[in-house]
Each structure stands twice: as structure tokens, then as C-alpha cells.
Assembly symmetry: C2
Homo-oligomer: 251 residues x 2
């Protein structure tokens, strides 16, 4: 795998690979452990359950877990003029875990960027409505590289009500906006006071709060059991978020 | 701030700065959001409450939060032949937040490494028993740099019982051990079934489980109120962990 250079053809290749992906929604957070992977996986499951053409790309190299959530540990992409994602519960699914594998060597940032760039350049998503991306936590080198490689992406930020999460996520949202990236909504997860619809008057540096998801013990038990996940209170609370993010396309 | 080079004098300067620090305990995790900052801050509080000379160095550049936990947002280090950490509730306290500040420019990995190296080279800890380090999450470039800059550090890993955390933390522990780093214990946080002492027969790739900490709603309310934190069930459960990590020194 070669290093990215000014003459690197891969950004143009990536744009062609994604030409028939209508929208790219990157689920991001300043902080780990807030539920970013569960939210991106469940959004994709909700889309698939409605017959929408959805993809999910787990690029959280710090702890890829969408394959565990979807119970897809044994599914691998196939090679055919590129890499074809396996279909898991109706979702076209790719994960960086297939390329990190069980390697015990830690990856330097440049290696990660090369691996992700390569994956984006070789994956055949074909025609889909929405590609959800499970982003790495924080706003580090990889996030900056992805902003450059995926200029069409729209960002959803995830936080929790904790006083330890909020300032970190606020800073991440500010950083994203400083990069001229559209941050289209904030989801507050693990909300112990969640009862009803979010107060949409609340905004977070101008980003609307588009969902409040309850802490739900069932989710841990449902990990790896797709039908179980979609029946949790967590998934029910996420459904209006999906509808807001992906309104029906007018024919 | 210059880039690190082979002729960089700072690693030797760092070793001299830390010459009178008896032990360095780095609190690490593969995954964010597992409570690493609360655990390292509370371990330092427990040590200080016993009259031990403790330091706390928050190097989690992805989301520094020890200053929030300790209610030390307005305390800054002073310059005097280097940087002198302020004393917060008996803890000598330094944080990378003082150097990241409210900058909205994202930091590239090399900038972070330079900032951390510089901080380690200029901070005057003087004579202390234990320096706790709140590490960045994951095993990325910064962790590899810290392993090189702090060869005496012993590592404590933090996980939760979640099926999404465990494989990520397991991989991080494996990576640390592959770097010939001593991983002296695993702490399981947010354990909803926690009742009593950990089953020390349980090990995690050979690393003993030295504590199980309950999920404790009081902790969120106690953030920023040091007396409040040390009176939580969480802190009580962490006390035997401190005693195991820092047994009394035989005179």
C-alpha cells in the first residue's frame, strides 16, 4: 500500500466508487463509549427494515464493533472487480476490522489512513440510498483525512448527558464546523430522563438536537441479534431520528 | 516547539524530571467512555486522602476531563524553572488541557506528540510516591510514544462488562504486552452486577482483575465536588484497588 501523495489517484477513484451513493451520513463523536456504533448500526437496520438501500461502513479503527452488533463476525467481503460488501440483514456492510484482523502490531496513523483510503477506493457500494459511516472517535488525523476523502458526507454527532461528555463533544462539533463540514444533528444517548420527543428548541452550537435515546439494558442483551436490537426502546427512539435524517425521496 | 529527532534531548530530560517519582501508573483502555478519567482521578484522590504524595497527569488529549472531575477548571500551573503543577485536593495536577486550550484547530498526531513530550520535559513533579497518568484511549501513535518516553510506567487497563468493550480492551492489553509493557491489573467499571470483591481467579489474558466498580449514579452528580466523589460507592469500590496498586512502602 503506497502512501498518499499529491498525485494519489485514489480520491478520484473514491468519488467514482461513491457516485451512486445518494447520501453519506457520518456518525461521529468527540468521545468514545457514547454509543456511536450502536446508533450507526441501528440507523442502518431501521433503513433496511423499510426496504431502503443502505450501507454501513465501520471505520472506527480504534474499536470496530458494528460486526459484533450485527452478528456478522463470520461474514467477509468478496473480491470481484474490487471488494463487494456482504449483505447483513439487508445492509451492505463493510468494516475496517476485516483489514485490521487480529494483528497485534499497533497501527501508526499513516498506516490507518492508507488502509482506509484503500478500502474506500476498492469497495463497490453500487446504488444505495444512504451510506452510514461509523467514524473513529475524536477529531484526529483520520477524521481530517475522511473529511477530505468524503467531501459529500453529512455529520451526525453523538453525545450523552454526562458533564464529562458534553464539553468534549461540543469541541468536536466546533472543530467539524470549522472544517466547513455540515453537522446536521446531535443525538443524545444514554439519557436516563428520556421520556418523549426531544426539545427541538435545544441546540448545541446551532446544531439541532434530533434525538434523545434512553439508557436501555435490553440493548446489551440484543447485541449480535438483529431482530432483538430493532425491538428495543433504544431502536424505537431512534426511528424518528432515521425519519428525520432520511425523509422519503420525492419521485 | 521542534519536532522530535534522534538527537532530541527531551527523553533524557524527562527521565531526570521524573527521577524522584517513585512509581508511574498509567490508566489506559482500548475504548473510550469506560471511566478511565474517573478512575485515575479517584485513585489520586484516595492516595491524597491518605497523605500519600500523589500526582495526576491528564494526557487524554482526545477529551481531557480530570480538571472537570476535580473542579480545577480555574487552576493553572505556574512557571518557575519549568512548570509547577497546582495542588488540587492534595494532588499535584497537570493536564494537557492547559496546552490545548480552547483552540478550534484540530491537532495532528505529530503536534500532540510534541506537546506531550514538551510537557513531560518541563513539568516539575519533585518528590512524589505515585504519578497517575490518564492515558489517551486506544493504542495509537501517542500511546506508543508514551511507552517510549515513560519506560518505567506500569499499566492498569479499564474495561466494562459490555460485549462491545471487552474485545477492544482485550486487543489493547495484547498490544501493550507485545510492547513489553507491564499490565499490572484490569479494572471492570460500570458493573451492574457488582456486589463484592472481584473474583481474582478471573484473568484477562493473564492480567488479574483487580477491581469491579459499580455503576453509580452519584458519580455524575459528584463531578467537580471532590468530597462528593470520595464518598460514592464507586470510590469505596476503588479503595481496595488503590491499596493493591500502592501497598505501604516498607521503611
Amino acid at each position: 500500500m503506497s502512501s498518499g501523495t499529491a498525485g494519489d489517484p485514489r480520491p478520484a477513484v473514491i468519488a467514482r466508487r461513491l457516485a451512486n451513493v445518494r447520501r453519506i451520513i457520518a456518525v461521529s463523536s468527540g468521545k468514545g463509549g457514547v454509543g456511536k456504533s450502536l446508533i450507526s448500526s441501528t440507523l442502518a437496520l431501521i433503513g433496511a427494515s423499510r426496504g431502503h438501500r443502505v450501507g454501513l461502513f465501520d471505520l472506527d479503527f480504534t474499536g470496530p464493533s458494528a460486526h459484533v452488533i450485527l452478528g456478522a463476525e463470520t461474514l467477509y467481503p468478496e473480491e470481484e472487480y474490487g471488494i463487494v460488501p456482504p449483505v447483513v440483514s439487508g445492509i451492505r456492510f463493510m468494516s475496517i476490522v476485516h483489514y485490521l484482523g487480529d494483528a497485534v502490531a499497533p497501527f501508526r496513523g499513516t498506516d490507518i489512513t492508507n488502509a482506509v483510503t484503500e478500502l474506500l477506493a476498492i469497495t463497490r457500494w453500487d446504488s444505495i440510498d444512504t451510506l452510514f459511516i461509523d467514524m473513529p472517535p475524536g477529531i484526529g488525523d483520520m477524521t481530517l483525512d475522511l473529511i477530505r476523502l468524503l467531501p459529500r458526507a453529512e455529520y451526525v454527532a453523538v453525545t450523552t448527558p454526562s458533564r464529562l461528555a458534553e464539553p468534549v463533544v461540543r469541541r468536536a462539533v466546533t472543530l467539524l464546523r470549522e472544517q466547513d463540514v455540515p453537522v446536521i444533528g446531535l443525538v443524545v444517548n444514554l439519557d436516563r430522563k428520556s421520556d418523549s420527543a426531544p426539545d427541538t428548541r435545544v441546540s448545541f452550537d446551532g446544531v439541532p438536537v434530533i434525538g434523545r435515546l434512553p439508557y436501555d439494558e435490553e440493548v446489551e442483551r440484543a447485541i449480535g441479534v438483529v431482530d432483538g436490537i430493532t425491538r428495543t426502546r433504544f431502536a424505537y427512539a431512534l426511528t424518528p431520528v432515521y425519519e428525520r435524517l432520511c425523509p422519503p425521496v420525492q419521485a
